[in-house]
Symmetry: C2
Subunit: 116 residues, 2 copies
DNA sequence: ACAATAGTTGAATAATTGTTCAATTGTGGT
DNA sequence: ACCACAATTGAACAATTATTCAACTATTGT
């Protein structure tokens, strides 16, 4: 993402240079887009949405979403790595719950956006 | 996304049936995940970030992000289709600006999330 | 100890997607 | 009318990714 090249000169150098110092650090940029990438999948949105209502185990989530346990587990792992959910083993089952209070707020804002 | 199948029975039917009616419509689900998909790309985040500071034309955005005009134009189209930015032709240049007040709020919330 | 069940994992496959390249459109200046 | 420049477009390519399948781990109940 660093070794790309422009094929043109600036038209309004003043604007470009005024905006440039406001741009986010590479680091922050990756974290932001990675976060949205995680949210950008229907299955994962459903999982978060469900877990907003109640903590649930993998099998129940699979039934609710009408998917295989494997597929659900794979996506839960993505959410777990992103620290959006956390897992707790209770006997034979693993119960998942939301791990981040921002998710609900962001989902609500996004909801406002898409339903306007 | 409809023709998937579970490979198991519910463990807590009560929870599944309590949560089921709260789940989002297919329609809304697609709109939500599509929205996040659009946000889930570093280039597009940078474009939105820049346009939050000032309206800019394609060439200037290309210089700012150190990319080709073509690549920038392709991504601006994605943002345009998603109604997040709008384009206005002024002479030989096309100036883009933000078209949605939710984007800033959502970016801010996401920022809080990733930088905690 | 054994069978049954819940969940995880890795490889394979299919689908999606971002950038490049080349060609094209449209506008302004001369 | 023509040339230079800004931007768009479509095809091609590489990279990423969601689901399936099969194998595996771990736990409960008998």
């Amino acid at each position: 993402m660093e070794n790309k090249r422009t094929d043109c000169e600036a038209i309004n150098i003043d604007i470009v240079e005024k905006v440039r110092p406001k741009m986010p650090e590479m680091n922050l940029l990756y974290e932001l887009s990675d976060f949205f990438k995680v949210m950008g999948d229907g299955t994962r949105i459903q999982l978060l949405w469900a877990l907003e209502e109640s903590e649930m185990c993998v099998g129940d989530l699979a039934v609710l979403l009408n998917m295989t346990k494997s597929a659900v587990s794979h996506q839960l792992k993505v959410l777990r790595v992103a620290k959006l959910v956390r897992a707790e083993k209770k006997g034979k089952n693993v119960y998942y719950s939301l791990n981040d209070h921002h998710v609900k707020l962001i989902l609500e804002k996004a909801l406002e956006h898409v339903s306007e």
